[in-house]
Each structure stands twice: as C-alpha cells, then as structure tokens.
C-alpha cells in the first residue's frame, strides 16, 4: 500500500463518518428549526381544531349559552 492509497483510505473513511452526520444535521435544520414543520405536525393531529374548540367552549361558558343572553340583558339594564 502506497502513501497515496493510505491517505485516500483515511479521507474516504472520514467522508463515510461525516456524510451521515451531514444528512441528519441538514434535516434537523430544515425540519426542527422550521415553523412549517410544527404547523404540519400540529395540523395532522388536529391541534388547531381542538384549541379553537376549547377557547370557544371556555369563553362560550363565560358568556352564557344562547338562552342566557336575554336574562343577562335584563340584569345589565
């Protein structure tokens, strides 16, 4: 084995170890640090729908149901 082949072996091995790291770091950068990724995951799991419903329920309760509007109107007057 000549020095040249030895160096090429080492360089090739280094490339072999760094390439997978590059692939995963590139993906981590493009997914974990990308708001669109979280948006997609949350949408798939119906997070927005649930949040919207929960907020509506919370304030809906505090406002009172449809039947209570008029009684509240009387109280206010």
């Amino acid at each position: 084995m000549t020095i040249k082949t030895g160096i090429l072996h080492v360089l090739s091995l280094l490339l072999l170890f760094t390439l997978p790291l590059l692939v995963f770091s590139f993906n981590a950068k493009n997914t974990l640090l990308n708001p669109d990724f979280y948006d997609k995951v949350l949408q798939e799991n119906k997070f927005y729908e649930n949040l919207s419903q929960n907020i509506a329920l919370f304030f809906g309760d505090s406002l009172g149901g449809d039947g209570q509007y008029f009684s509240r109107a009387k109280q206010t007057q």
């Binding site: 390439l19 640090l33 990724f37």
Partner: protein, 231 residues
C-alpha cells in the same frame, strides 16, 4: 357563537406566527418572543352577533341590545398571552439552554458541510485520477445512502412498536399521534436524500469500474496472452 368568531383558520394563522417567533428566538435572530392569540376581531364579531340575536326581543322589552352585546363582548380579553405561562425562571432557563444548544448545532452543521466539501476536494486532489476519485467518493456516498435509507425506514417501525408496547394509560393517544407524525415528518426527507446519495454513489462506483484510463499501461499478463495468441 365564539367558535364562529374565532374559526380554526384564524387560530392556525396566529399559532403559526407564534411558532415562527419561538423558532426565531431559538435561532438567535430575535432577543425576545411573544406567544399570543389576538381576540379583538373575535370580540367585534361576538358583539355584533349578540346584538343581532338580542335585537327583536330587546325591542319588545325596551332593553338596549347594543349595550348588552357590548357588555357580553367585554368579557373576552383582547388577547390570550401564552408567554405568561413561560415566565417561570426554571422554564426560561431551559429555553435559554435550548437557545445555546441551537446556536452550537447551527455552527456545527455549517462546519460539517464545509468539512464534507473539503474532504471531497481533497480526495480528488490526492487521487489525481478520475477512476480512483470516483471510487473513493462513491463508496462513502453509497454506504451512507444505505444506512440513511435503512434507518429512516426502520426507526418509525421501531418507534411504533415501542409506543404500542406501552400500556394505554402511559401516553395519551394525542401524544402518541404527535410523536409518530413528528418522527415521520422528520425522517421523510431523509429517505429521499438517502435515495439520492445511493444513486450518486452507485453511479460513481459503476463509473469507477467501467471507466478506462486513456494512457493506462497495458497489463503485462494481457500482453503475454496476446503474444501467445500470435505465436
């Protein structure tokens, strides 16, 4: 009524903006972040909707529908501030730690990209031969492609199995679903990139085996065989 006033699309738009704020903060692009839902528009809708519903009956009983509708809408705050929940020192410490980690990660990722480019150039320079360089670069590309493709295909299966083995009360179905789609979303692009690496690696390897050097000296054994044939 509130659900009509604050539809799913409005929540989605604002939450996406909030996540953008958090990510920008973690990346170090901003020095602070806000996570809030603006409810002002919803308040206006609730007020007009309440006034409309109260309308006729209020007229009959001489009640001021507008004033009542206003008092109803006033019970809704202008905004829901989620940042208040993050104000605890322990949580802020964790977020600051995450910010430092993200900074180091982004720096390391850049160094890694430069290192890989430098290694490829070095291999080409040292090899000084297309055939040799193609083989030395093709082999790591091909192996990385196989490794990345296998891991991105097997990890979700292993995760599903691990989550499935847990008792049902250990994780809510919501958490299980989020974890699965999180991993799937993360690994889906890896699969495509792995395939690209695999193809590039295979092409380089095939090229290195088929390519014939223009000025390559003929092998002595081959020459001898030719001589034998002539004789």
């Amino acid at each position: 009524m509130m659900q009509k006033a604050l539809p799913y699309s409005a929540v989605k738009k604002q939450m996406k903006q909030n996540m953008g704020n958090l990510v920008s903060f973690l990346k170090g692009e901003t020095d602070s972040f806000q996570m809030q839902l603006d409810l002002r528009e919803a308040k206006t809708i609730v007020e007009s909707e309440s006034a409309a519903r109260l309308g006729r009956r209020a007229e009959n009983e001489s009640v001021d529908a507008g004033a009542v509708a206003h008092s109803i809408a006033e019970r809704i705050p202008d905004k829901l501030d989620f940042s208040q929940g993050l104000n605890s020192p322990v949580l802020m410490d964790r977020i600051s730690e995450a910010r430092i980690f993200v900074k180091i990660f982004l720096f390391a990722a850049e160094i890694l990209a430069i290192a890989v480019a430098a290694l490829i150039v070095l291999i080409i320079v040292v090899a000084r031969d297309l055939k040799l360089a193609a083989r030395r670069i093709g082999y790591p590309f091909f192996v990385t492609g196989i490794f990345s493709f296998a891991s991105s295909s097997l990890l979700p299966l292993a995760m599903d199995k691990a989550l499935g083995a847990l008792p049902q009360f250990a994780l809510g179905t919501g958490v299980q679903g989020v974890a699965a789609s999180f991993l799937k979303g993360f690994l889906e692009p890896v699969k495509t990139q792995a395939l690209a690496l695999l193809v590039v690696g295979a092409v380089l390897l095939v090229f290195s085996f088929l390519y014939k050097r223009e000025n390559a000296p003929e092998q002595p054994a081959a020459e001898e065989r030719k001589k034998e044939k002539r004789e």
